[in-house]
């Protein structure tokens, strides 16, 4: 279990933003356990409604920044209410919440499941559209065959997913990054150089491109989860994690287009290449900024 509370920002405005990120993130359970463990038992029966009252509607419309520091603290002291809030965001969250970046891992996992679900959606759809009373026996047979085929495809795909996949060792997934002694601007430059690994191997078909994207996104996820103690300024660490999340999301979006055959291979490869070029350039610009700040430029 990762100690998420270590990252809890001190300033109220950053704290609200960070908590929102957790609420739409995949580590909310870990955070709730840690908060509950440190705070002790919550007030009996303190629900989200009781805690936020009329402000709940504002939170659903505009996010947690509408809460005062003490209201936010009460939320932290009653962490299970954050799981309630997560459900409310899913049910009634406004445009503000819908536009928040969701974790790349959630997008990737749901995208993988979509292939199975879509086959089944179509099987169900076909079955309900073609079943007629007079030839129901024959159609049932066809329907069963279709479902069996879908099940076999599903088992095959699942089996492939369960095969051990070697972890990538290039790009941001390079093990040397985490233990690198490079500091601040040098660290950013090192990350930009690591991103250039993308261009070491040119994918020649969709399957190779998907593998390449998956490997790179795995590296991004490692960066999102890393401490980045090589960056002295916490603002740079937050910037890096936010950017990594956003780059990973962009690559996952390209991946989605490849999977659903929305664009031709060459175009998808160009899009992925452009994401890498942009992120490399952002890392180098940030390195320059850090150097300027520390008076090295």
């Amino acid at each position: 279990m990762k100690m998420l509370l270590q990252e809890l920002p001190t300033e109220h405005e950053y704290r609200a933003d960070w908590l929102e990120q957790q609420i739409v993130g995949l580590d909310l359970y870990d955070l709730v356990v840690q908060l509950r463990g440190i705070y002790g038992d919550a007030d009996e029966g303190c629900s989200l409604d009781e805690l936020l009252g009329k402000k709940l509607a504002d939170v659903l419309a505009s996010g947690l920044k509408v809460l005062s520091p003490s209201e936010l603290s009460r939320l932290l002291a009653n962490p299970e209410t954050m799981i309630e809030l997560q459900e409310q965001v899913f049910l009634d969250g406004g445009e503000y919440w819908q536009s928040r970046d969701l974790p790349a891992e959630a997008r990737r996992r749901t995208l993988d499941i979509r292939a199975h679900v879509t086959a089944e959606a179509f099987a169900q759809h076909q079955a309900s559209a073609t079943l007629k009373p007079k030839d129901v026996k024959l159609k049932r047979w066809q329907f069963s065959a279709l479902l069996t085929a879908a099940a076999i495809i599903l088992i095959f795909v699942s089996w492939q997913n369960f095969l051990p996949q070697p972890s990538p060792t290039w790009g941001f997934a390079n093990a040397d990054i985490n233990s690198s002694p490079a500091m601040d601007a040098d660290y950013m430059v090192m990350l930009a150089d690591a991103a250039s690994d993308w261009f070491d191997k040119v994918p020649t078909d969709d399957a190779a491109l998907l593998t390449r994207i998956d490997d790179f996104v795995a590296g991004c996820e490692q960066l999102v989860a890393a401490d980045h103690l090589q960056l002295s300024d916490p603002i740079d660490r937050v910037w890096l994690r936010d950017k990594c999340q956003s780059w990973a999301n962009k690559l996952v979006a390209v991946r989605g287009q490849v999977v659903s055959e929305q664009i031709v291979f060459r175009e998808s490869r160009q899009q992925a290449n452009q994401v890498i070029r942009d992120l490399r350039s952002a890392l180098r610009s940030r390195a320059d900024e850090i150097a300027t700040r520390s008076g090295r430029a």
């Binding site: 279990m1 990762k2 100690m3 509370l5 270590q6 809890l8 109220h12 739409v24 995949l26 909310l28 359970y29 870990d30 709730v32 356990v33 840690q34 908060l35 509950r36 463990g37 440190i38 705070y39 520091p69 003490s70 603290s73 932290l76 002291a77 299970e80 799981i83 997560q86 459900e87 965001v89 899913f90 049910l91 969250g93 969701l102 959630a106 996992r109 749901t110 499941i113 979509r114 199975h116 679900v117 879509t118 086959a119 089944e120 959606a121 179509f122 169900q124 759809h125 076909q126 559209a129 066809q142 065959a145 279709l146 069996t148 085929a149 879908a150 989605g256 659903s260 055959e261 929305q262």
Partner: protein, 217 residues
Amino acid sequence: MAIVLLLPRLSHCNVAANLHSMENLQTQERRAAADETDELLFKRYQSGDAASFSLLYDRVSPLLYTFIVARVSGDRSSADDILQQVWQKVFLKQHQFADQGPRSFRRWINTIAARQIIDARKGQKRHGLANAELGELVADDDSLSPEAALVNQEDLDSVRSCLEGLGESDSSILRMHTFDAMSYAEIARKLDIAEGTVGSRRSRAMQRLANCMESKI
């Protein structure tokens, strides 16, 4: 493999061709449908517009997935299974969906998800019970409700035992900073110590907690 060979080839071809045309349709209609409500997309899927399904799935699933993950103690692979089962139920029970205005699709799928989470918990509990105890597992078991047992006692005990390793003073700094919305300066005044000391003691305490938690994985 033998089963695959026995299957009618036509069925395979139909599935592939229709899936392909569904994806083409999806591309054409994706933009137009971007502003449609979940309810309308689902109705379109029901009335034969299979392309609307992917858009609805992409819109609803990622956040629904995070909701499921939080309710299965962060276990991604259980959440994968549950999400897939939820959509299977959506197809099977699609005739039961009643459009009762905005967000009614989300409420409906949320109810299905809650049910699936309970079923998964029952499955886990059943897995952990001896055969003789199986009969005692009843449907109205309170510990299986969606609201109950959000936090696993074992996980909680791990955090608490790590917390015990910190001194009372460091624990109180963590609590004041996290739950009382107190700045380092306010904590410093209250404890009569230097402001910088508050920051360093908090960082050190967090690091010790993190090390302890990692050692318990």
